[in-house]
């Protein structure tokens, strides 16, 4: 039975209460990641300092998700926009939010160089192993054998290479004295929050943070609720969930 309640959904202060339901598909991992991010911003009281940038791809649907200053950029270009912001105003806490395509394909040169220069921002790559917005094509992280619109018979690694491991790559080039690099998963949002906390604290300390979040895409995966979580488990076996680089003094 439907009732009318005065009390609404429990939203973080850093979530935009004006927009109602998000623009994401049912079961989309972006919702889980972003609400966790918003809760972390609240808990660290970074609401006035945070500047959020989103990419093209499904992440762009978050252009009014957050209740913090936001800029929606081009595919792969969120990283340079946000380090442009924090270079100009180092007091801000910059967050560049993108998918695996934006982070590891079209924007990979920005990711690599931001990591090497220890740019002062948090880069979040939501890894759902495909290009969601454009209709489910192969991405750099598509799993071996995974069917996508451009690998309809399954990803053949002999032809397309092996899936890119973003966190490992960034960990290998990031300055251990200035960086926090981790891979987390939407399967455990409490842990994800703890990861975001370290990442944002590190940015607030002037460092560079990179968090790859294993995420889900039930629509393009064509999975039901049970299969979605199962698929994520397989991903976690392939992409190791852990903190790769953690500067000293960061808790």
């Amino acid at each position: 039975m439907i009732e009318m309640l005065e009390k609404g959904p429990r939203l973080a202060k850093a979530q935009n209460a004006e927009v109602g339901a998000s623009k994401f598909c049912p079961g989309c991992g972006h919702g889980m990641i972003l609400k966790t991010l918003a809760q972390t911003i609240d808990e660290l009281e970074l609401n006035d300092k945070a500047v959020f940038g989103c990419d093209i791809g499904c992440s762009l649907l978050s252009w009014n998700y957050m209740n913090v200053d936001t800029v929606q950029t081009h595919h792969g270009r969120t990283t340079p926009v946000i380090y442009g912001v924090t270079r100009a105003n180092p007091d801000l806490v910059g967050i560049a939010y993108m998918g695996d395509g934006g982070g590891l394909a079209i924007g990979s040169q920005h990711l690599v160089n931001a990591a090497v220069r220890s740019e002062n921002l948090l880069i979040i790559v939501a890894n759902n192993t495909n290009y969601g917005m454009t209709g489910g094509q192969m991405s750099p992280t598509t799993m071996p054998g995974q069917k996508t619109e451009t690998t309809p018979y399954g990803r053949d690694c002999d032809v397309t290479g092996r899936p890119a491991k973003g966190a490992e790559m960034v960990a290998s080039i990031a300055d251990p004295e200035k960086s926090f690099v981790a891979r987390a998963s939407v399967s455990n949002l409490r842990k994800l929050k703890a990861t975001f906390k370290k990442a944002l604290k590190n940015v607030d300390m002037g460092g560079f943070s990179f968090v790859e979040v294993l995420s889900v895409c039930p629509l393009n995966w064509r999975t039901n609720n049970v299969q979605t979580w199962d698929r994520l488990k397989t991903m976690e076996e392939f992409f190791e969930v852990k903190d790769f680089v953690q500067r000293e003094g960061l808790e």
Partner: protein
């Protein structure tokens, strides 16, 4: 707040790239984002060398894509930021420039044209005219000043910042490799001494601390009509402000029988040619559009209508000519062309061409 280097009129003997760095400082620019590409490198070199005195900021990015986008970031964070590029760098920076168009970001960029297409030469051309005016996936909501030497570089670089921040359309200073690399005397000045006040800048992202509602800056639209509504407004605004922005220069064009139409440094060669032709008894004159976007259409049409013949000359294959021909549609004045793709046009070239036009008038 940056420290200004030029507090009183100072005559210096500089390369154009150096002039641009000094001009940006005079305009109180606080941050430059850039990526090396010839022939604009010395803008960055000079800017960096001056940093201890100016206390401004600089970031060398990983490519022109990031130079463009990080410039946008800097501007949104409330800094008077700028960038510079050339050639293939200008091509890939269109990504950021079209975002600046859509988001109405006061993006200032100096373009030092080189030969194209592709890598071509690192020397000189006017082949980025169309790209700079209309690049990106849109309508060219941009303001473009075409300069013809070092005093122009100084004057218009300062002006570009104010135009950009006043009207919030990306603003370009279109110069070239010759202007960047050549040395000639120039008078640097404090803009305030010329009555120029810099338009104040403000932050779109960050720093509000609850003093205003949060900003959600976007360039994505869901519906066709939603987009058109925005673009119609932009176009209406662009048309409305155009008369305030349009600039041109006429040189002995009043009674000119042969009107030369040229922009940038080629217009300077045309001035040399006009003097030589007049000395030989040929009534030549020059119309030089200074703003290429928007074009000063009314005076342009009037000058063309007065002349018996028109000569378009460019270090490109008619990129300006195309833009002008569209605007002078309906006029009957015949024209001829002298196009040298990616190569400098000398006074002699123009003199010879005009002499041949006098002997054998254009029929097109």
């Amino acid at each position: 707040m940056v420290k200004k280097l030029i507090t009183q009129d100072t005559r210096m003997f500089l390369t154009g790239n150096e002039v641009i760095a000094y001009a940006a400082n005079a305009a109180e620019a606080e941050f430059m984002y850039g990526y090396p590409i010839t022939p604009q490198n010395e803008i960055m070199h000079t800017w960096c060398k001056l940093l201890p005195k100016t206390e401004a900021g600089f970031l060398q990015t990983e490519d022109e894509i990031s130079a463009g986008f990080s410039t946008i970031g800097g501007i949104l964070a409330g800094k008077r930021a700028f960038t510079a590029t050339a050639g293939p760098g200008n091509v890939i920076m269109q990504d950021a420039q079209s975002m600046a168009e859509m988001m109405r970001i006061p993006f200032v960029c100096a373009v030092m044209q080189r030969g194209g297409p592709s890598t071509a030469t690192v020397i000189y051309a006017q082949q980025e005219t169309r790209l700079t005016c209309f690049g990106g996936n849109g309508e060219g909501f941009r303001i473009v000043y075409s300069t013809a030497g070092h005093q122009d570089l100084y004057d218009y670089m300062i002006k570009a910042f104010n135009t950009a921040w006043k009207y919030r359309f990306p603003t370009f200073m279109l110069a070239d490799g010759y202007q960047g690399k050549m040395r000639e005397p120039v008078t640097l000045y404090d803009p305030a001494s010329r009555g120029i006040k810099m338009v104040p800048v403000e932050a779109t992202l960050g720093g509000a601390n609850g003093s205003r509602p949060v900003n959600h800056v976007r360039n994505t639209f869901n519906l066709e009509e939603e987009l058109m509504e925005v673009l119609d407004k932009y176009q209406e605004e662009f048309d409305r402000i155009s008369p305030e922005i349009e600039e041109y220069l006429e040189y002995k064009a009043d009674d000119a029988e042969v009107l030369i139409i040229a922009h940038g440094i080629v217009a300077r060669s045309a001035m040399t040619a006009v003097d030589e032709l007049r000395a030989k008894g040929i009534k030549a004159g020059l119309f030089r559009p200074i703003t290429l976007r928007p074009l000063a259409v009314k005076p342009l049409r009037a000058a063309v209508a007065r002349a018996k013949q028109v000569l378009f000359t460019e270090s490109a294959n008619g990129q300006l000519a195309q833009m002008v021909l569209e605007k002078i549609y309906g006029l009957q004045t015949p024209y001829s062309t002298l196009f040298k793709m990616g190569v400098g046009v000398t006074g002699d070239d123009i003199v010879q061409k005009v002499e041949s036009m006098v002997k054998e008038p254009a029929t097109v």
